[in-house]
């Protein structure tokens, strides 16, 4: 008779475990051998990328394995992986992670034809990364706590005594660094420093954009400095009619009206350069841009494709004259934050 004692159990358990381990490794190698597939490290909205990749696979027959994570976490992982990376392409929610990867020499030059598909000025200057979709910095405000007429026309005015205890900001977020650099480039270093000092004195620090957005919607605080799509993400979730907060766009080339982009690049270490270039070309094709625009409140960067969300039309935005490529210098943003006592 078969008797199950503790030792048999343990032995079988170990055998089962090791079989599973070896098996999964072999499977992985087998998968890698298949040539018509790509590995995409994805930091962009899950549904956006899923919709995009589905359309790509239908059009080309190329399978795409998606590894998800936050954009900066994946960039750090890519930096540690270096030339051994299994990734072929990287799709990031923001451009600074790609600027960092480019500085470390990890990105391939992109096909110039792909770069020409999108509005000029939103991709890497050396053509190593591609701007895919855009969004702008805004002030979100709780309608019960602030009147429309009281809202500032410049982002610089919000770091003043008038707004004491009324501004949520996220000094550690990627887009906040870009905001600092934009103020520095357009208004000078001193203005940026004073602005940060004012925020430290009168604003309230949050550790994440979602947390800040939630605080404004909930009425914990009157206003918050975030990207426009954070408002649309919450509106999508609870219904725009139920929102207690609204979006305030700044104008007149104010640095508060900064436009930033989501971006993508091809890893230099990838052995499937042509295929990866094909994926990026698809991202900015009409089909690709439509798939993206349908799933997130960002502006498609291909001329002629329009966001179905009720965002302020892209051509009516009045952003400052700085491009995403100018904004990659996070080191200086950090130096400024340290000087202001915010880091």
């Amino acid at each position: 008779m078969y008797k199950l004692d503790r030792r048999t159990l343990l032995r079988n358990g170990i055998m089962l475990g090791s079989t599973a381990l070896i098996g999964s490794q072999t499977m992985r190698l087998a998968q890698a051998a298949e040539s018509q597939s790509l590995v995409l490290y994805n930091g962009q909205h899950t549904h956006t990328t899923a919709a995009l990749v589905k359309a790509f696979t239908q059009a080309t027959g190329v399978k795409v394995e998606i590894r998800k994570g936050s954009s900066s976490q994946l960039a750090n992982q890519l930096i540690e992986e270096g030339v051994h990376t299994p990734a072929d392409a990287f799709y990031s929610e923001e451009s600074p992670p790609l600027v960092q990867l480019d500085e470390k020499g990890l990105l391939s030059p992109l096909n110039p034809r792909t770069l020409k598909q999108v509005r000029p000025g939103y991709s890497g200057k050396d053509g190593h990364w591609l701007g895919v979709s855009a969004r702008c910095r805004v002030i979100v405000y709780n309608k019960g706590m602030v009147k429309d007429s009281e809202l500032p026309t410049s982002i610089l005015d919000i770091a003043t005594k008038k707004w004491d205890g009324k501004v949520a900001f996220v000094p550690t977020s990627g887009s906040f660094q870009e905001q600092i650099v934009a103020i520095k480039l357009t208004k000078g270093r001193k203005a940026a420093l004073d602005w940060l000092k004012g925020l430290k004195k009168y604003g309230r620090i949050y550790n994440g954009n979602t947390a800040a957005m939630k605080a404004v919607e909930h009425g914990d605080i009157a206003t918050g400095l975030v990207n426009n799509y954070y408002w649309f993400a919450v509106a999508e979730e609870i219904g725009a009619a139920n929102m207690h907060s609204a979006v305030h766009y700044m104008e007149h080339q104010d640095p508060g009206a900064l436009v930033t982009v989501s971006a993508a690049g091809v890893l230099k270490a990838s052995k499937k350069q042509a295929l990866a270039q094909k994926l990026l070309a698809f991202m900015v094709s009409e089909a690709g841009q439509k798939a993206i625009a349908a799933s997130v409140a960002e502006y498609p960067l291909r001329p002629g494709v329009v966001s179905p969300f009720h965002v302020k039309p892209f051509d009516t935005l009045e952003p400052p004259h700085v491009t995403p490529a100018d904004l990659g210098d996070v080191a200086d943003a950090l130096a400024l934050r340290r000087e202001a006592g915010l880091a």
């Binding site: 381990l21 999964s24 490794q25 590995v39 750090n76 270096g82 051994h84 550690t172 949050y206 340290r338």
Partner: protein
């Protein structure tokens, strides 16, 4: 005495060898931190460490970690005493329920609390929320300790005229020292590494700063320096806990403590104690659960991703069970070695995991990315490396659960088996292993619980396409789809209740039988 020193060849080499493997494994993140930190150069190290901002982080980190440890220990001790030593109505029910908050992920409870009032988004709020979610780490070992404690000491104290309080302090508390100490150490190191909850509660510590270094600056050098400071903070705690158990030898061959300890009658205080338990249940379980229900009801994203539910449950279950198995296998030799061979090296190998435990998951995960891609690229983003990362992250939890049962197994038993002709491995398998089985059960349950919630290492190291409940909760909440996240979060809690139940039963039964 070196274990089995009568014959220096066989056992000691096997034994030491099997402890060297986990020790080497655990030093991988340490090596990584050193490699990265030295890239800063001496001047860079000075600039980074001696800044006003660093001082602020240091103060915040210490205040948070020490306060949460004190509050969680007080709650844990009080709850353990009430369910073990008083006539509170529904003792069995409370005994299990008091462990369940372990099943609620901290980011769910902190989201819930931060929604209630902005006042809670502060240091006192963080202390409250985190104490409520970590006190079971103290409650469980202390409850087991109270059951195993010898009531004879109390009789003596009472006969010498001590009142109940004095008796508790002089006769009971000292016996609970090791249980309380190991629980408190776990809470403390947990707090040093906590990130998810703090991001909602607006408190900045070294760990949030480490995240910032990676997230904003892509600067692994500053992150490594901050990690080194964090590890230095773990040292005094680990040392203190080691002192607490130093010189204690509790192994027994027979089963002592035949008499059950007497139960204290609560009398008029009964109502208040019961009310306290209800309040604790409400705060630690009711609030987070209500939040999940709220998400489901108001959210428009409800129903998204249902197709992922089974793969996510599957991924969570098999990764956590395998991870628990691997971690326990590594923990056994470390614990046995440190108990039987009281040398400095064994003590060091035993403590090392606790120091690493204070590191945030992102540092350990990146260390494993770096190490595996350079040492064994073929295994990168395979299951093996992920399981090893789990072992590095959670070894101390397995060690502290194993230790309690391993300390009661006399090494003489194995020596006798050896003298009767058993081979070393056979002697271990037939004598020691069965005796520490309850400890292994408890350790496995606790491991499953922790691994099910693990996020960072899973995201970076799992085979591409493998999903777990935790990664799905993360991915939906990251996109602000709270209603879509709710079923995954609820399932995460439900799946976690199984190991919590096993753990509670194991731990408490074990106390009963000793």
């Amino acid at each position: 005495m070196l274990f089995g020193s009568r014959r220096r060849t066989g056992p000691s080499i096997w034994f030491v060898g099997s402890a060297v493997v986990p020790a080497a494994l655990i030093s991988l993140p340490l090596i990584y931190v050193v490699i990265r930190a030295t890239q800063a150069g001496m001047a860079g190290i000075g600039d980074e460490i001696f800044r006003h901002h660093t001082l602020m982080l240091l103060v915040n980190t210490i205040v948070l970690a020490v306060s949460v440890t004190l509050v969680a220990s007080t709650i844990g001790l009080a709850v353990a005493w009430c369910v073990e030593r008083t006539d509170i109505p529904g003792r069995r029910f409370w005994r299990v329920l008091a462990g369940v908050p372990l099943a609620v992920p901290a980011f769910v409870s902190s989201y819930a609390w931060s929604s209630i009032s902005p006042l809670l988004q502060s240091m006192p709020g963080a202390i409250l929320v985190l104490s409520l979610s970590t006190y079971p780490l103290v409650y469980l070992p202390v409850a087991a300790g109270l059951r195993g404690a010898d009531p004879g000491f109390e009789d003596v104290a009472r006969s010498l005229g001590d009142g109940p309080w004095r008796c508790f302090c002089r006769a009971v508390l000292p016996q609970l020292g090791p249980a309380l100490g190991s629980g408190a150490l776990l809470v403390l190191t947990h707090m040093l590494a906590e990130f998810g909850a703090l991001s909602m509660l607006r408190v900045q510590t070294f760990t949030t700063a480490i995240f910032e270094s990676y997230e904003v600056q892509f600067d692994s050098t500053s992150a490594a320096l901050q990690s080194a400071v964090l590890m230095a903070l773990c040292l005094p705690a680990a040392y203190g806990e080691m002192r607490l158990r130093a010189g204690k030898s509790v192994a027994r061959v027979g089963r002592g403590n035949a008499r059950r300890a007497s139960t204290a009658r609560l009398g008029g205080a009964r109502f208040w104690v019961l009310a306290g338990f209800f309040l604790l249940g409400l705060l630690s379980l009711g609030v987070p659960m209500a939040t999940l229900v709220y998400w489901l009801m108001v959210g428009h994203s409800a129903g998204q991703g249902y197709a992922d539910i089974w793969p996510a449950i599957g991924g969570s279950v098999w990764l956590s069970v395998l991870g628990a198995l691997v971690t326990s296998l590594f923990a056994i030799p470390l614990v046995l070695l440190s108990i039987r061979h009281k040398g400095k090296l064994a003590a060091f190998a035993d403590r090392l995991p606790y120091i690493i435990h204070g590191l945030p998951g992102v540092v350990v995960a990146l260390a494993m990315v770096f190490m595996s891609i350079h040492l064994v690229p073929a295994l990168y983003q395979g299951v093996t490396v992920l399981l090893l990362a789990y072992a590095i992250l959670y070894l101390p939890l397995a060690q502290s659960s194993l230790r309690a049962s391993a300390e009661l197994v006399s090494p003489q038993l194995e020596t006798i088996a050896r003298s009767l002709g058993r081979r070393p491995l056979a002697a271990f398998a037939t004598i020691t292993l069965p005796n520490i089985a309850p400890g292994i059960g408890a350790a496995m349950a606790l491991m499953v619980l922790e691994i099910v919630r693990e996020l960072t290492a899973t995201l970076m190291l799992a085979p591409t396409g493998v999903i777990t409940l935790a990664t799905e909760v993360w991915s939906h909440t990251y996109d602000a789809e709270y209603a879509a996240a709710a079923p995954f979060a609820a399932l995460l809690v439900l799946v976690s209740i199984v190991p919590v139940y096993v753990f509670t039963q194991r731990f408490l039964q074990f106390g009963e039988s000793s």
